[in-house]
Amino acid sequence: MDSLDIVFTGFLISALRSATPLLLTLLGECLGQRTGVINLGAEGQMLVGAMAGYGATAAFGNPWVGLLAGAGAGVALSAVHALLVVGAQANQFASGLAVWMLGFGLSAYFGAALVGQQVTAFDSIDVGAAAQWPVIGSVIAGMTPTVLLALLLVPVIGLWFYRTRTGLRWRAVGESPAAARAAGVSPATVQIQAVLVGGLLSGLGGAALSVDYTRTWAEGMSAGRGLVAVGLVIVARWNPWWTLPAALLFGGAEALSLRLQTADTPISAQLLHILPYLVSLVVLTLTCLRRSDSGTPAGLKAVMDR
């Protein structure tokens, strides 16, 4: 294997690993927005997911338990958003901000004891003969379980969303709640389900971040990934299939900035840290400049207009 190949696969692996927490959150946020609910609380849900996931892994010594705990915490926190927005018809942005702050506070409070603790890592996955495949073999061998899980979820959710009856109902609710209601679908039920699924995925994303990607817990460690997810949904054109390239954009930029830092470039580390956010922002702006709002669920436009 020549060195270029190694550099390339190494970069791809680190991009994938960095993109994974974001990808999971992005998928969840995408589903929510497609049913007409925007959730700024994704950031807070990631934080409680990261904290609960880390704590459970430390307590039980099993990262899988950690992922479960993270997902559960995400669902629990998103239930607040579902209750406020769908139940009490509260403003989605205000409720989202409240959930974000709540998640930040809760995770900081309960996570204080976790700082500095060690956790057991995932066993590396045995991919068997696949590791020998040319080029992608080494990428597959370098994957962790959460990366694999996130990559699998993209087609699963994509197919489910566009090819099943439930997916159709969700899409209908996001486009026109009144029409969906006339067709016998309850928009409130669908929206609650979507917010909870969003909570599950962002909690999972948070857990993937702390248990698998960084293997530490620190206050506010999601560092805006949840909010980036809210914005990248636009780049992904509200299409679950497009969440993968959108998340890789962020992941790739972060991998690049890490490379540049270790390579002792004269650019300051602080500046390099903003690279993934900068890239996301630029792409988001470019996407919006094209002006065509194809893909925006009509129900979401109604939310923005309020």
Binding site: Y162, R163, T164, R165, T166, L168, R169, R171, A172, E175, S176, A178, A179, A180, R181, A182, A183, G184, V185, S186, P297, A298
Partner: protein, 504 residues
């Protein structure tokens, strides 16, 4: 399934939309539900369909009281409804829309049309020309109506409610619908047909129920009533006058020139449409819906981006590719589907009436200022309720149409583009809107009038052009026009360019 509504009462704020209404629906029978705009017809049927809850009263099925608290519950009981304001999801395809409400849609739909054929079976029956994989937003109103009907047929419903299904259909489309309605009733369902068109009543209803201001004023057999008696029942003590046609002025100056217009919108495309309208002339546009009527109207009114051509009014170019939209438009526009295209539903009637003049408002204006102004328009067009602060969304379908007419027909526009301006209006209101429209023609405005009602076009228009596939298939003076010729043009036969009279 025998359904009876007893003592249904529904109040919206100060308005009593339904006041102690009784209605019996018998299997195999078509009931025509008639009444003026805002009489409460839609409200009554929305209550039966579970879309709204009655304040008082009871619904019994086969003598057993039932609670219908959602459309889902209604569908489970075998009650289906086609709404006056369409309830299709525009971004989804026809097939997806049909599958959404279909009982036997499998969990896994897949992309293949095979497993997905059941929902479109009825549509194939009633409208084979509609492509099921087209997004609904690309369909014309008439086509949407048929999709809506297919949706209800899919329910195998015991009660089928149709809210003004024929208001935008061409005569041929209406006949097709009547046939479907008779077929549904023959299959043992009870059908409620809300309509303002008396021909609908005599074509397929066995019984008529008439509502006025929230109350049921009469239910009788169709065979025992004459059209005149029916009209008197609907309007009560008021007298209806029909609009008088506008005399054609012989050597009128040309006022508007739609010059070689091409445009594409989501609703369709037009290519090379060239029409001249003289001062005081009413040019009717006929055609099967979906042949570019909406695009033509949007393009002339300045809402579509033009690919080529110009719209010249009084010698001034108003619309051209890449032209700035003039601040004060000399064009008045009454678009189709007013709820979607012409009002801000959450704003008050008064504000909606002001929208055209919004740029002239003082920086700080008090709502009470335009209330007075609005009241005048509200009485002039008999918009009900008369409260200028009511939101536009709370108006009945016909009253919304009146609201848009009241706004657009104020002032002195040089060119008026009117799409189905009387859609959903009762006889009196339709006459009033025609009168207002024709008053502008008498004053010297040019009128471009899109309609599917050939009778009205032949009675009131001076010339009739037929659109087919986005092009003018033919144009004729009304005096010389025959239904056969127009019908042939509508389906694209014998494009007779020579029929264009030398007119300039």
């Amino acid at each position: 399934m025998h359904v009876s509504l007893a003592g249904i009462t529904k109040r919206y704020g100060a308005i009593l939309a339904n006041d102690d209404v009784d209605l019996d629906l018998v299997p195999g029978e078509v009931v025509a539900l008639l009444g003026e705009n805002g009489a409460g017809k839609s409200t009554l049927m929305k209550i039966l369909f579970g879309f709204q809850q009655a304040d008082a009263g009871e619904i019994r099925i086969d003598g057993r009281p039932v609670v219908i608290d959602s459309p889902r519950a209604a569908a489970a009981l075998g009650i289906g409804m086609v709404f006056q304001q369409f309830s299709l999801v525009p971004a989804l395809t026809v097939r997806e829309n049909l599958a959404l409400g279909h009982r036997c849609t499998p969990w896994w739909i897949g992309r293949g049309a095979r497993s997905f054929a059941a929902p479109v079976a009825h549509l194939r029956d009633i409208a084979p020309e509609i492509e099921p994989d087209l997004p609904v937003s690309r369909l014309a109103v008439g086509e949407m109506q048929l999709v809506e009907l297919a949706k209800v047929l899919n329910l195998d419903a015991g009660v089928v409610i149709l809210d003004e299904p024929t208001s935008v259909l061409t005569p041929a489309e209406s006949e097709r619908l009547w046939e479907q309605v008779r077929r549904i009733a023959a299959g043992g369902a009870a059908v409620v047909l809300i309509t303002h068109k008396l021909e609908d009543v005599f074509a397929c209803a066995q019984r008529v129920a008439v509502m006025r201001r929230g109350r049921m004023v009469a239910t009788l057999d169709t065979s025992s009533v004459t059209p005149d008696a029916l009209v008197r029942l609907i309007v009560g003590a008021e007298t209806v006058t029909t609009a008088q046609p506008v005399e054609r002025t012989a050597d009128a100056l040309p006022r508007a020139w739609i010059k070689n217009l091409s445009a594409t919108t989501a609703a369709g495309a037009i290519a090379g449409v060239d029409l001249r309208i003289a001062a005081g002339e009413i040019l009717g546009i006929a055609g099967v819906s979906g042949n570019g009527q909406q695009t033509l109207a949007d393009a002339v009114a300045g809402l579509a981006i033009l690919l080529a051509g110009e719209v010249i009014v009084d010698g001034e170019t108003l619309q051209a590719p890449r032209a700035e939209m003039p601040a004060q438009s000399a064009v008045a526009y009454l678009p189709e589907q007013p709820l979607r295209n012409a009002v801000a539903p959450d704003l008050s009637v008064a504000v909606n009436l002001m929208l055209k003049r919004i740029r002239d408002l003082p920086w700080r204006s008090h709502p009470s200022q335009f209330d007075a102004d609005a009241r005048e328009r509200i009485t002039a067009f008999d918009i009900r309720p008369t409260d200028p602060r009511a939101t536009a969304a709370s108006l009945s379908g016909g009253n919304l149409q009146k609201l848009v007419a009241a706004r657009e027909l104020a002032g002195a526009p040089a060119l008026i583009v009117a799409c189905y301006p009387t859609m959903g209006l009762d006889l009196g209101a339709a006459a009033a809107v025609y009168e207002a429209l024709f008053a502008h023609a008498r004053r010297g405005a040019a009128v471009l009038w899109i309609s599917e009602d050939l009778d009205d076009l032949l009675r009131y228009a001076h010339r009739i052009a037929v659109l087919h596939r986005g092009r003018i298939a033919g144009i004729a003076d009304t005096a010389q026009a025959t239904r056969r010729q127009l019908g042939a043009w509508m389906v694209g036969h014998s494009i007779d360019v020579a029929a264009e009279p030398a007119h300039a």
